[in-house]
Symmetry: C2
Subunit: 194 residues, 2 copies
DNA sequence: ATCGCTTGCCTAGGAGCGCTAGGCTACTAC
DNA sequence: GTAGTAGCCTAGCGCTCCTAGGCAAGCGAT
């Protein structure tokens, strides 16, 4: 009886691949056990429960995405960096829809604080150095950027843009143009426009 | 044996309320049946299956949200309209987290085409009349607006902004300022800035 | 008014999932 | 070699979704 050699790491990796193939909601402990040729009860030796498994996928995805973004950002500044960040983010989400969906789980504060999520925030702030924004504008800008990226990717995936024929790639690059423009010329607090 | 008087409409409404209380993922056919004092098998006379139930919640939420936005938009234009739309959207999402989450389900194209989702798109375009944007810029702007709204609300809910102490309300209004600014001065295609 | 017929509920039951308890076996450390 | 532990197992409970088939309430037509 050869042992399957299951570890939490291998489990998480296979679960992530499974998520990309069949969707996170179908990543069950039972299905995962089948993939390893093992009974489902055996997996509880490695993971706490089903939620723990999902959290592990999320942390893996966060770390992977942070690595990609970091690589894309190397040696770039200003709008170049903005576009590189955004494209790396969107590409990852499209190549790994299951991992991306898993990332949306609500992590408890301590876990979130030690996750790769903080690297995302740091890197976003690094980009903003090219735009010379002081606090608290910087925080607001970081939040707007994240909102735009996540919102676009999310709506694109769930078909929220399907009712208009225009290629989403075009809207994406124009959205980044707009984001660059507003970061370059960050408006003052509320006042009368034009 | 008095009949419970279950209809698909009442079912959907109670399901939506249940979603707001305990989260969409916990809105099960069995739990819903319990709420009506009825066996779970009986509900399949009114709904096709569990997915059908979720779709009905989503359509209800889309319609409710469209109504709210329409009311908020009445008699407003320009930035007033933008802020009214955005606030109505965000308020609804916060007051009805379960309904909002249910809305994110992937509707099949025909269902989506006859849903209240199209009213959202129309109303967004109506706002843009105040900013005088021609196609295809208009489509890009609509997509950016939706992305920003959905992304912000979504990240706010899942705790994506928690690592910075700044009140999210402040970031929200500054994000709307920024959105208004960029719509007022929609940048040209990509070229050199400033 | 009563005979159907449809509507709205029921019971029974199968299959899948999450998870626990407890047992056996292969490997590892001494 | 022996002790201990790591890694798997079976058994079994409770929950979910869903189907099949039965019975009764209330309706319309005669």
């Amino acid at each position: 009886m050869a042992r399957a050699g299951v570890t939490a790491e291998r489990l998480t990796l296979v679960a992530a691949e499974l998520a990309d193939e069949v969707g996170v909601e179908n990543v069950t402990v039972a299905a995962l056990a089948r993939h390893f040729g093992v009974k489902d009860a055996s997996l509880y030796f490695h993971i706490k429960n089903a939620r723990d498994l999902r959290v592990r996928i999320a942390l893996l995805a966060l770390a992977e995405l942070a690595d990609r973004v970091a690589a894309a950002l190397a040696g770039r500044a200003g709008k170049d960096a903005l576009v590189a960040f955004a494209d790396a983010y969107r590409d990852y989400a499209r190549q790994h829809p299951g991992r991306y969906a898993a990332m949306q789980i609500d992590l408890d504060p301590e876990t979130a604080a030690t996750s790769a999520g903080v690297r995302h925030a740091e890197m976003t702030r690094a980009i903003l150095r090219g735009y010379r924004l002081a606090e608290p504008d910087q925080t607001d800008a970081v939040r707007m950027m994240h909102s735009t990226f996540h919102g676009f990717v999310s709506l694109e995936k769930t078909g929220g843009f399907r009712h208009t024929p225009r290629p989403t790639d075009d809207s994406w690059s124009r959205t980044l143009d707009a984001l660059d423009a507003v970061l370059t010329n960050w408006p003052p607090r509320s006042g009368a426009a034009a």
